[in-house]
């Protein structure tokens, strides 16, 4: 599936919920599906800055695609990074770089997109794109 297709799929899933509480409960559920980062990569340099909770993100190249793993000490943050990873993992660096993130708005998490928001969603997206940029430059 392309990034766009996955994003549409996520938006469809979220459209089933009427209120914020159900949406947040689903985010928590999605957090449980997160491909967890290997403990040895939980290093200071893999921590994403700008989050009130700790978020570790690691990307590895696999047949021209990037596989992301992550973790967080906060449950909601874990859910949010899980959503991002579902959309962006196992994709080509060039596709990751081109993709937009409007779907975050569409699933009712717009308030989390503000750059001053302490959850660092914006920093997470930036870090994912940085990985893509680095791998693309390397190839």
């Amino acid at each position: 599936m392309t990034i766009k297709e996955i994003q549409t799929e996520i938006v469809d899933e979220f459209s089933m919920f009427d209120d914020w509480m159900q949406r947040y409960e689903y985010i928590i559920e999605l957090g449980k599906t997160l491909p967890l980062i290997d403990e040895k990569f939980k290093t200071e340099e893999n921590i994403i800055k700008g989050c009130q909770s700790k978020v570790w993100l690691q990307g590895e190249e696999n047949n021209g695609k990037i596989a992301f793993t992550a973790d967080s000490d906060a449950i909601l943050t874990k859910g949010i990074i899980a959503i991002l990873i579902r959309a962006f993992s196992n994709q080509k660096p060039s596709d990751i770089l081109e993709a937009n993130t409007d779907f975050i708005d569409e699933i009712g998490l717009k308030e989390h997109l503000s750059p001053t928001r302490a959850n660092g969603l914006v920093s997470m997206i930036k870090q994912i794109k940085m990985y893509a940029l680095a791998f693309e430059a390397k190839n």
Binding site: Y24, Q52, K54, A74, I75, L76, T77, A118
Partner: protein
């Protein structure tokens, strides 16, 4: 006695809905809400007497200058300073601390010591670290104990002839502990050290008497006492303010200027370069009048009631732990809930209309001491109610249900 209905009606923001729910504002230690008299006074200044102060001969300038200086006198009385020129307008606590720390760079030499406490806000740590880097002085830290009190025996042990200044908060922002500053000031003076008190968290709850405390400097912010943001006060004893070099150069702070030499103005103007926050300074006086009308004894008694009620109710929640349990504390409750990140709870209860602070509260060393990533902090003001505390408890239980 507090007439809570009447008081709440004074604050337009409190009747607001947030995320469709009635706002419960428990982030008072970060900033207080503003009563209508303060909001009106700010607008009226611009509508009626806006002019630059201390220079014009025209009527508006005189009116603005009078209002500004009347506010200074009001604040002098409020904190019981000996002279009004010991009361300097600043942009806030941080500004006041930086002004003093910067001034001390001309007094310190390598080997001297600057003493801070383990309970400080970053703004009362970093300026002193910068001072130490600049001068080669050493930063010494008064340690704290498990319940969030400073260890006074250690304090006494650390004090020596080398100590040049001790800087400590009157009340901890992260835990609410009231420090025994009078005793600490006394001990510091015995070794010849100056003392700066960061009163940012104290002034919303009590009326400091700087002469009785005998502190050399006392700083606070206006926005935490129902005043405008960008206002603050630095009280300094006359002898110290005369000794300290000016912080910023500019207009207002000079007596005469030639390209060869400038002589500085008398206190307080020596430290008030440039056009100040005139409206803010005047309205800070209005805010102080408002609080004094309610009465600090009434405020303290009522807030203590909220603290006791809040502590009892919160402790009913399974797995909830309170940090900072000194018997001497103000209406601040810093807590964690077992197995749940403070950020998660903060986010969920925000959706339920409740505003608390989450994180390290700009006091990372305290969080390191307890080895936690942060806490949730509910800080109550005289306009909060027990019903709001009940709503907080319900919201936390709801969040707990969702998150475990």
């Amino acid at each position: 006695m507090i007439n809570i209905q009447k008081i709440r009606a004074d604050f337009p923001i409190l009747s607001q809905k947030v995320n469709g729910k009635s706002l419960v504002y428990f982030d008072n230690a970060a900033t207080s809400q503003k009563p209508q008299v303060v909001i009106d006074a700010e607008a009226n200044y611009y509508k009626e007497i806006n002019a630059n102060i201390h220079r014009g001969v025209h009527t508006l300038s005189q009116l603005a200058t009078d209002a500004y200086e009347r506010s200074r006198l009001k604040i002098q009385q409020h904190i019981n300073a000996k002279f009004s020129h010991e009361v300097l307008f600043t942009s806030g606590t941080t500004h006041g601390i930086n002004l003093v720390a910067n001034g001390f760079s001309s007094f310190l030499k390598p080997g001297d010591e600057v003493m801070v406490s383990a309970l400080e806000h970053h703004s009362n740590i970093v300026p002193w670290q910068m001072l130490c880097e600049k001068t080669g002085a050493k930063l010494v830290v008064i340690p704290m104990n498990e319940i969030g009190e400073l260890i006074l025996s250690e304090y006494e042990r650390l004090l020596s002839e080398k100590t040049k200044i001790v800087t400590v908060n009157h009340i901890s922002n992260a835990l609410g502990t009231i420090n025994p500053i009078k005793l600490m000031i006394n001990k510091a003076h015995k070794v010849g050290a100056a003392v700066l008190i960061d009163g940012a968290q104290a002034v919303p709850h009590l009326k400091p008497d700087v002469q009785e405390l005998n502190c050399d400097f006392y700083v606070f912010s206006g926005h935490k006492i129902c005043g405008p943001t960008g206002t603050g006060i630095l009280y300094g004893k006359e002898e110290w303010l005369n000794k300290l070099p000016p912080y910023q150069g500019g207009g207002e702070m000079i007596a005469t200027v030639t390209f060869e030499k400038t002589t500085y103005a008398e206190l307080p103007h020596k430290f008030e370069a440039g056009t100040p926050n005139i409206a803010g300074g005047i309205v800070l006086g209005t805010a102080i009048d408002y609080l004094n009308e309610i009465g600090f004894e009434n405020i303290a008694a009522y807030e203590h009631e909220l603290l006791e009620y809040g502590t009892k109710q919160l402790l009913e929640i399974e797995g909830l732990k309170i940090y900072g349990t000194s018997s001497q504390k103000t209406s601040v409750i810093s807590f964690t809930v077992e197995g749940i990140h403070p950020y998660d709870i903060g986010t969920i209860i925000d959706k339920l209309g409740i505003a608390v602070r989450t994180g390290h509260h700009c006091a990372q060393p305290i969080m390191d001491f307890y080895q936690i990533p942060g806490t949730l902090r509910a800080s109550f003001a005289f306009y909060n109610t027990k019903e709001e505390i009940d709503a907080l408890v319900v919201a936390i239980k709801k969040a707990q249900q969702m998150l475990t």
